[in-house]
């Protein structure tokens, strides 16, 4: 049978047309390319009506594409707008920059690999896994060079953890600026990571008595390096090669990255090539010039690794407005670097009154947690907020509280309560209240 056998069947021409319904309709109606955009839209609406019950849809009366039509699966074409996006004015170029996950279109705690937010300091390197090496040295008994094959032989673990860039929400310190969930909160993503415990590797090289700090370094052009206290390394850090069941994506550090659960994303060094054990921190550029928090009085805080508890309503949001009064489910995400989410409260009146939202399983340590609450919208203006409490009892603060402590120039670690303004027409806006 020739490979294009099925394609020559008449039913498949319908199925090909299905891939571009507008074109299909055009040829069906015999109107061709002369159609104006608006007209095409009207035609599309007419067609939508036509294929609702009781009518059968074209995809119900034709043969679809076969297996391995897409040997590596891709989302439906109609989902093409669900992509990572950047804010062009934020950085000089895209090589040292950030992209944001489309949280408004995600439903669950796991971020699909192609939508995990990106942060590079020297672009995305294409690392050859055959040539890649992990060197572990410094205050150790037995310095090692490991290949990827070597690393895969060590006992493996899988854990679900979020990674959040501490600059998530960094543009909102002064005022509401970006009218979008994707851009106010999209520097957080969550995945199942598989790899080796860092403690296993540190035991394998043997720590000397003076060992107190660990430096981790990437193989990219930035040679990104950060210092980590030894206790954290021995606690829950992972050296991972897999993300949501498949090899890490190049964007996420292929073939090997560190995951430091619950701490600011920058320390989870990607394309990891070197671990050096020492007795003092390194005070690298990324933990002095950057990733330090400037206070209003001119002093700065360094080594502020922890991601404090944070939550956000993901529906409704500026990208997903309401369509008229009625019953809705308010949905959102909550997370904390301090363990598990204990409770989430939701307010629809700007924080005057709060209700306890339902948390959805699984509720995992240092992972995104879903919450929801039903809400009957009366069509009047509303101010929606969510507030998380983590297992230490810490309560997510307001932006006013945070500014009181830190001023407006600290860039990082804005974990404040987000307010969404709902207007009578159902549209939603990013606002701050005081």
């Amino acid at each position: 049978m020739p490979p294009n056998f099925w394609r020559s069947l008449p039913v498949v021409s319908k199925s090909a047309a299905r891939r571009n319904p507008v074109l299909a309709r055009r040829s069906f109606l015999g109107l061709g390319a002369a159609l104006t955009g608006t007209f095409a839209l009207d035609a599309a609406r007419a067609e939508t009506a036509e294929i609702s019950p009781p009518a059968d849809a074209p995809w119900s009366q034709s043969l679809g594409a076969g297996v391995v039509d897409r040997p590596y699966g891709t989302p439906a074409e109609t989902e093409a707008g669900v992509i990572r996006r950047n804010v062009p004015w934020l950085t000089a170029g895209t090589e040292s920059s950030i992209s944001f996950s489309p949280l408004q279109d995600l439903n669950g705690i796991i971020t699909p690999n192609g939508l995990f937010f990106e942060r590079y300091h020297a672009g995305r390197p294409d690392v050859d896994p055959e040539q890649h090496r992990l060197m572990i040295h410094g205050l150790v008994e037995r310095p090692l060079v490991l290949t990827m094959k070597d690393i895969l032989r060590f006992p493996s673990v899988s854990r679900i953890h979020f990674i959040e860039c501490p600059a998530n929400g960094g543009m909102e310190w002064r005022a509401a600026q970006l009218n979008s969930l994707q851009f106010t909160h999209g520097m957080v993503s969550c995945a199942e990571w598989t790899g080796v415990k860092l403690s296993t590797l540190l035991e394998e090289v043997g720590l000397k008595k003076e060992a107190k700090w660990v430096m981790v370094e990437g193989a990219d052009g930035a040679h990104m390096n950060r210092s980590l206290p030894l206790e954290k390394c021995l606690d829950d850090c992972l050296i991972v090669y897999a993300q949501n069941g498949e090899a890490l994506r190049p964007e996420q550090g292929y073939p090997l990255r560190l995951v430091v659960p619950g701490w600011e994303g920058n320390v989870s060094v990607k394309w990891l090539r070197r671990i050096k054990v020492g007795d003092q921190p390194w005070f690298s550029r990324e933990e002095t010039s950057k990733y330090t928090d400037l206070m209003a009085d001119g002093t700065s805080r360094g080594f502020t690794w922890l991601i404090d508890a944070k939550s956000v309503i993901t529906f409704p949001c500026p990208e997903k407005p309401l369509s008229g009064p009625g019953l809705y489910e308010i949905r959102g995400l909550a997370w904390t670097g301090n363990g598990k989410v204990k409770a989430v409260h939701v307010s629809t009146d700007g924080g005057i009154n709060w209700q306890v939202a339902q948390l959805h399983e699984p509720i995992l340590s240092k992972a995104l947690t879903r919450f929801s609450i039903p809400w009957r919208w009366d069509g009047k203006p509303a101010l929606l907020e969510s507030r998380v409490i983590d297992e230490t009892g810490y309560v997510q603060p307001t932006i006013v509280d945070l500014r009181k402590q830190r001023g407006t120039n600290s860039v990082y670690h804005n974990n404040s309560i987000q307010t969404w303004q709902v207007k009578p027409d159902g549209s939603v806006f990013d606002v701050q209240i005081g």
């Binding site: 290949t147 003092q280 690298s284 701050q432 005081g434």
Partner: protein
Amino acid sequence: MFRSDSHRSVVSSAAKLLALTAACGVIVCASPVAAAEPGHFGYGTVATPEQIAGWDIDVRGGDGAGLPAGTGSVSKGESVFADQCAACHGTFGEGEGRFPKLAGGKGTLKDDRPELTVGSYWPFAPTLFDYINRAMPMPTPHTLSADDVYALTAYILNLNDIVPGDFVADKDSLPKVKMPNHDSFLWKDPRPDTAARPCMSNCANPADIKITSTAESRNLTPRTTGPLDTMQPK
């Protein structure tokens, strides 16, 4: 290398097994999977001094540990900078377009719009050597000689009036340079620094709830539908 190493690890785990057996003879052997000794798995190869030397590039900010041999003057730094760095950072470190400023901003840290630069913000001078060496020039990182990196470090410090024009940077002089903002850092996280309480009802006076800012119509937000928005005027 690989051979002799794997041999050694076999010997060491055999010795460990013996030790374990001996211990079990005396006390109850509760946990045979106790913390592994170095070389327990025996995977990989022991790093050679040459391998380590090639990759061991880190310089510690606090004491300059790891600074290599070499030396560089302010005037040499000026010419290397003009060649390799000025296109992005400006001839005097003033920063082209949105590329970072490397000089100036002194005394602005308490301002409404502070300017964070090497001179106004960085706490440690050896960090400057480390960063230029590992990450710059951006298009071809880690390709400069140690002498050139020392010279660039000297030049940028001089642009910030931190060292005089005749300063020569090397592994002894750099750790002695005191950065103006050195003492302003707290290296211990003071958080939690807020103590909100989970009030559930009548938590605020409705009259006090005012919208203080809105992102509506600010024209800062890229489109979040369709293809990527470059935000270029059409």
